[in-house]
Amino acid sequence: MAGVLVMGGLCDGAFDRSLLQAATAAAPLASAMGVPLMGALIGPSVSATADAMQCGLEAMYLAEDAQFAPYTADAYVRAARAAIEASGASTVIIPHGGVAREWVPQLAARLQAALVMNCCAVSAEGGQLIATKPVNGGSVLAQFEVLGELRILTIDSGNFEPRPAGQPVTPTRLKVPAQADAQVEVLSEEVQSNQGGRLKEAKKIVAGGRGVGGPEHWHWIEEAAAVLDASVACSRPVADSGWVPSRHQVGLSGTSVAPDLYIAVGISGAPQHLAGITGAKTVVAINTEAGAEIFKRADWGVVDDYKQVLRGFTERVAQLRG
């Protein structure tokens, strides 16, 4: 039985609405192909997420085991393979981002499957699977025909609304034999939570770029974020320069975000950064350069020295929210 399988890896066990967004992307493919829409979850503790993922799927497969934390690509690839074999899926849809960038291409290579990552649109036209994704740092959209018997797509979930709850199914539990990977061993994990919660799920984000001027000025971004109860983010040059850790980086090689409000401070708007905020609803740009690309993406713009602007902004926000 062929089918479309929505699959997610959950290293930390927390529910991730990107699964429901991926289901929204997958559902029209299943109907166009006339095959069932199914789900699969991999992680140390996925039962609660399985409940939250009940959105009218025809089957659900769970690979729940201690071996899936800490994350190793090898364990996720073995579990994903078991889910694909158990479900008989021919098309697999996975939310893009984080460790999926590592284990999904390993899965594709292991199974000799076709893969397109970071798709912003997918469709099935006359039996042909079509995937669209940003390339060249986001300045170009490329459209591919995805060929072969097994086809895997990762989805930039910010482009899709979560699929509403639907008829629940009883999950099938997969047995994935544990197997120590002698070649890659996780020694430790250094994980820090972001101010204002997970970046990719943040509703409000204040992001700083090279224009902030240096790590000694970063407190301006943090203070603006704090008064808004927003998450802090940065552009790639800021992460590369080590002003703030890479986990804050938004863009094609960082996190894709979809907040209601994105305030870009001193960010010029390189395509690879803009590709990470395609799902942002309202974008505000604060920059001294009136010609900066970011103003073409932004809904609101302020052309002036960001420190003075943020001083006035932060004070007023404190009054309005107080």
Binding site: N136, V184, S253
Partner: protein
């Protein structure tokens, strides 16, 4: 340590959208004004990491590049940065390879070099932004792949301890050699070519390996490019005015408050 670095020549990713176009025949992204293509940024980071490992452990750094004759520019730069050997992989049948096909060819070249301890790749190429080829190489060679790597903390002839980036931090991972790493830009600042290196590179010609040299059979494509469309942005933000920068900031807060965004 015998290290192979894969590099790709790409259109400068910092060119704005109105400086690039899509060549209708090849469906490749090209610079409208003939601006010189560059070495993919993450690949330069991979090469720098390889040169640092060679400084610490001795050995050899071989750089391989899949592309047409124009890619010799990028190989020259790699040579000038300090690579011991550079090889161009070029064949008419490789012009339109997808990630799987490119990984197949690069893996065949690495096998041809032989006895390789470490393969270093950029985490993704800035033209296709696919992030796949390195994993196809590793699968073909039957070695583990770790990506994206932001730091090499320890290195010996048997293993490396590296930092693999996660969404909210990183993992410290010990990987036994032989292995492949996908390198991210946090790892280093690539050096500029030295004067001496540039002179040596300018006097040498990279050898070319073809499909018959590597005995690579033709592969069925897994992806077919339909079209590429340049995203030219034309809209513009509504600018907020005020007598002072502070007043603009306060006015911005008021606008966002009215829109229910605070």
């Amino acid at each position: 340590m015998n290290i192979v670095v894969t590099v790709k020549q790409v259109v400068d990713p910092n060119l704005p959208a109105d400086f690039i176009s899509v060549d209708p025949a090849s469906q490749r992204i090209v610079s409208t004004y003939g601006l010189t293509p560059v070495m993919n940024g993450y690949d330069a980071n991979a090469l720098e990491a390889a040169l640092k490992l060679r400084e610490a452990h001795g050995g050899k750094v071989t750089v391989i590049c899949l592309g047409d004759g124009a890619s010799r520019n990028t190989l020259k730069r790699a040579h000038a940065m300090g690579a011991d050997a550079v090889v161009l992989l070029s064949d008419p049948t490789w012009a339109d390879l997808d990630s799987a096909g490119a990984g197949h060819v690069l893996a065949a070249a690495i096998r041809h070099i032989g006895d390789v301890d470490l393969v270093l790749c950029g985490r993704q190429a800035s033209d296709t932004d696919a992030g796949q080829v390195l994993f196809w190489i590793a699968e073909n060679l039957g070695i583990p792949a770790v990506c994206p790597v932001a730091r090499i903390e320890e290195s010996s002839d048997e293993s490396l301890v590296v930092h693999r980036l996660l969404d909210d931090g990183y993992q410290r991972v010990r990987v036994r050699l032989p292995a492949l790493l996908g390198v991210s830009s946090e790892i280093n600042d690539p050096r500029s070519p030295s004067m001496k290196g540039t002179m040596i590179a300018s006097r040498s010609l990279a050898p070319t390996w073809t499909a018959s040299d590597l005995a690579v059979p033709q592969m069925q494509p897994k992806l077919k490019m339909r079209n590429q469309e340049i995203q030219v942005r034309t809209s513009s933000a509504r600018l907020i005015n005020g007598d002072t920068a502070e007043a603009k900031g306060a006015a911005l807060a008021d606008h966002l408050h009215e829109a229910g965004l605070l």
